[in-house]
Amino acid sequence: MSLADIPVIQGVASSLTGNAPILLREIAEHLRRLLDCGETAAIDLQALPLTPADRAWLRERLGNGEIRVALEAEGQSTLEETGCQGVWWVTHHNEKGAVVSEFIETAFVPELVKAHPDDVQSGLEHLELLISDLC
């Protein structure tokens, strides 16, 4: 028996609530602030009453950009630039692939992508170790 045999409409709560269009204005405001004073911001999508349809609507409206960063850390995370440059759709998954948190970030580059100087330091140390092994 497959899921289709169960007389339940899949994708419950699949109607639009009208909450998504309001978010577009908020994102625009965040982008303006990013341009004016370089201030980054994030919107926690799980903290908002959005149906899956709302999210799909928002994702579709924002469109796809040119950059897609995949982060492998305790499950996969994707940081995708949307069709609006500077607006990033950030999805964190856990090891089992379930979405644990989802954000819309406004930044030139999301903080998570940049390497921390300390980590660069360990990277350098590791590289020096490799070089010293050469001789």
């Binding site: 419950v12 109607s15 149906t51 850390a73 305790e74 499950g75 964190h92 954000f103 300390d118």
Partner: protein, 363 residues
């Protein structure tokens, strides 16, 4: 952002980015603004490394072990497990290898060595009836054990609705005389993590807070961490828009139920239940009661078991109205009695009526 925690994490093979991601998720789950995630990461990372892992003692009383089951299913095992690795769980009957006298010895050693510093976690309620004979461990009643272990604790975590508010054992008629931890212990900081069972990440969140700051997080009036219990299920429910539109499922299998409409009329206690299920969800973010089509039972609220029935809408009477017939009868009787009295008065007035005489007019 650097500090001992980051080094510890690195030793466990957890990268800085993983930690940042975890903090962002934890902040989202704690219903904090996204900026708080970074602040938390910095605060936690900067916390001084403890020379010795803090001791944790976990006492089980009148409970079903569901809370332990829940905690052992934290959704991000490596980082949250790491937070558990940062403590020394010295006594936990279900998880520990030792049993009998050895287990008791471990408990007493931990109490002696960490006097005044250990964290006490309690799950289950404390029965007071029959001098506490309803639940005993190693010949000691739960009441005795709690008082003894609580004495040297730095703080107490009441895990689950039973320890926090008495829970199901306290449900009417409460045969064992069950009470909550805070009913017994008055002189220690106590934090309640109610829920039946509580959400795992709430536990790790509170533990993370205790480890970082050495204190319990900010609490609400009912002793719950505000971060997780600050808003109602209803306010954060993805079905909330349907409530506002007046679209309700009337039965569990009607058109509305299939379309995912609001479950208020089917008895959902979301509007009066403070918990994080709507955002954190269960089973690694798979789903949660309302998403699976069942209303909220209100399990993180005191006396949720006696809240007037799980399938009765909040606006419905908690008990069937018993007095209707009696009230109507008494009202009718009173009405009839008063009307007889009125008639008697009227006929009295009529009987006392005198004809006006000439003498009266001349007065």
């Amino acid at each position: 952002m650097q500090g001992p925690l980051i080094d510890t994490l690195a030793r466990y093979g957890v990268s800085r980015r993983s930690f940042l991601k975890y903090c962002a998720t934890l902040a989202s789950m704690m219903a904090l603004p996204p900026s708080a995630g970074r602040a938390m990461a910095e605060a936690m990372a900067a916390a001084p490394a403890a020379a010795k892992r803090p001791s944790v003692i976990w006492l089980p009383f009148q409970e079903c072990t569901g809370c332990t089951e829940s905690i052992t299913r934290s959704h991000s095992p490596s980082i949250e497990g790491m937070i558990f690795d940062m403590v020394s769980l010295d006594y936990q009957e279900t998880l520990m290898a030792a049993a009998g006298h050895q287990a008791e010895e471990a408990l007493h050693n931990a109490m002696k060595e960490n006097e005044g510093k250990y964290l006490l976690i309690v799950d289950g309620s404390v029965p007071l009836g029959l001098d506490g004979a309803y639940s005993c461990i190693a010949g000691k009643s739960n009441l005795e054990a709690l008082k003894e272990v609580a004495k040297g604790a730095a703080a107490i975590v009441a895990m689950g609705s039973c320890a926090a508010y008495g829970g199901i054992p306290k449900a009417n008629p409460n045969p064992t005389g069950a009470v909550s931890v805070s009913d017994v212990i008055k002189d220690k900081p106590i934090i309640n993590i109610p829920g039946c069972p509580p959400i795992p990440v709430v536990m790790t969140g509170v533990l993370a807070h205790f480890l970082t700051f050495g204190s319990l997080p900010e609490m609400d009036k009912l002793g719950r961490p505000k971060a997780f219990y600050g808003e109602t299920i209803h306010d954060r429910c993805y079905r909330r828009p349907f409530y506002d539109q007046g679209k309700f499922a009337k039965t569990f299998d009607d058109e509305g139920a299939r379309k995912g409409w609001c479950l208020f009329e089917l008895g959902c206690k979301g509007p009066v239940t403070y918990n994080a299920c709507a955002t954190v969800k269960w089973n690694g973010g798979t789903s949660w009661p309302v998403e699976s089509g069942h209303g909220c039972l209100g399990c993180s609220e005191p006396d949720f078991w006696d809240g007037g029935g799980f399938y009765k809408a909040l606006s419905m009477p908690a008990d069937p109205l018993k007095v209707v017939a009696g009230a109507v009868a008494v009202g009718a009787a009173a009405g009839v009695a008063v009307s007889f009295a009125n008639r008697a008065k009227k006929s009295g007035a009529k009987g006392g009526h005198e004809t006006t005489t000439l003498a009266d007019l001349e007065k």
